[in-house]
């Protein structure tokens, strides 16, 4: 998946339309990144990459780039 496409879909899944989501964006600094958003990220990754992350794994990362690393960089291009 292209990086831009990933960022667009993630924004859509999290309903973060008003937030400029980039790979360097620190998710933990976003007020709306709450427990439901964590659940949404898990469902989003499962749906798009068939990979089941845990809330524990997500608690240990901060940026969107970290999330991409968790998913596996081999899944991304561009």
């Amino acid at each position: 998946m292209k990086k831009e496409e990933f960022l667009r879909l993630l924004k859509e899944a999290l309903e973060f339309q008003d937030i400029d989501l980039q790979t360097a964006t620190d998710l933990r600094k976003i007020e709306a990144y709450d427990s439901m958003a964590v659940m949404a990220v898990i469902a989003f990754v499962d749906e798009n990459f068939s990979k089941r992350l845990t809330a524990k794994q997500l608690a240990a990362i901060s940026t969107v780039g970290d999330l991409m690393e968790l998913i596996g960089m081999e899944n991304f291009s561009g």
Binding site: A13, E15, S35, V38, M39, A40, E47, A59
Partner: protein, 254 residues
């Protein structure tokens, strides 16, 4: 010999989802209570593991994906020895989907409803045909619902609504099947320590999991706790109970 009113001696019972969690425990405990059990599940290896833990008896098992609704009738026929009558059924097979409502699509409802609801109702329809029912003794069917059918939980719209559908279906089915002396009930567990609960916890931050534990005054349940409720409903002790939902939740809903 005096038989306990909680015995399942001489009763044939079909159990779905018998390869793990609640279904596995129901299978084992029913066999210990004297029943002959007929097990259905998708995973052969784990089903065999359940089978090896049963108390001795003429038990049988079949690997089957309950979503293949068209094949359910032939699966039941193959599972049951010719001319068998079935007293009990426990529909413990179930799927879970944890995600915010905003990400819950028709396909998620469809896959959950297919296993959690429709397969269970279809199997009950098949087993309640006269050829499988002893009209003298009747029968007792139990559907494993969930406390989420009664109490809202975030991220569980598809799952909770499928379990609520079971509760609604149970009441109508109970009314229709009294003519065959078949009782129909549900058991609604709180959180039980099963592989399915692990997938729920994987989606929850640590503090939310701790909060859930606090909401269960008697702690999280063991699969056996739910199995005992099923045994009660299928035994002679439960003979005047039909169309009900036996909440088995360690005090979660108090």
């Amino acid at each position: 010999m005096i038989t306990s009113p909680f015995s399942l001696q001489t009763k044939n019972i079909v159990i779905t989802g018998a390869s793990s969690g609640i279904g596995r425990s129901v299978a084992i405990e029913c066999s210990r209570a004297g029943a002959t059990v007929f097990l259905l599940a998708r995973n052969q290896e784990r089903l065999e593991e359940t089978f090896s833990q049963l108390s001795p008896g003429n038990h049988r098992m079949a690997v089957s994906d309950l979503k293949d609704l068209a094949n359910l009738e032939s699966t039941a026929a193959a599972l049951l020895p010719g001319g068998s009558q079935v007293f009990g059924m426990v529909h413990a097979a179930g799927a879970i989907f944890t995600a915010p409502f905003s990400m819950t699509r028709p396909k998620h409802f469809e896959s959950l409803y297919a296993v959690n609801v429709i397969a269970g109702f279809e199997l009950a329809r098949i087993l309640s045909q006269k050829k499988y029912v002893d009209l003298q003794t009747g029968g007792s069917y139990v559907f494993i619902s969930s406390i989420s059918a009664l109490h809202g939980q975030q991220g569980a719209v598809a799952y909770a609504s499928s379990k609520g559908a079971l509760l609604a279906g149970v009441r109508s089915m109970a009314l229709e099947l009294t003519v065959k002396k078949i009782r129909v009930n549900a058991v609604s567990p709180g959180i039980v320590k099963t592989p399915m609960a692990d997938t729920l916890f994987d989606s929850l931050p640590g503090e939310a999991a701790e909060q859930l534990l606090k909401q269960h005054p008697l702690g999280f349940g063991d699969p056996q706790d739910v199995a005992f409720s099923c045994i009660y409903l299928m035994s002679e002790a439960g003979r005047w109970i039909t169309g009900q939902n036996l909440v088995t939740d360690g005090g979660y809903s108090i």
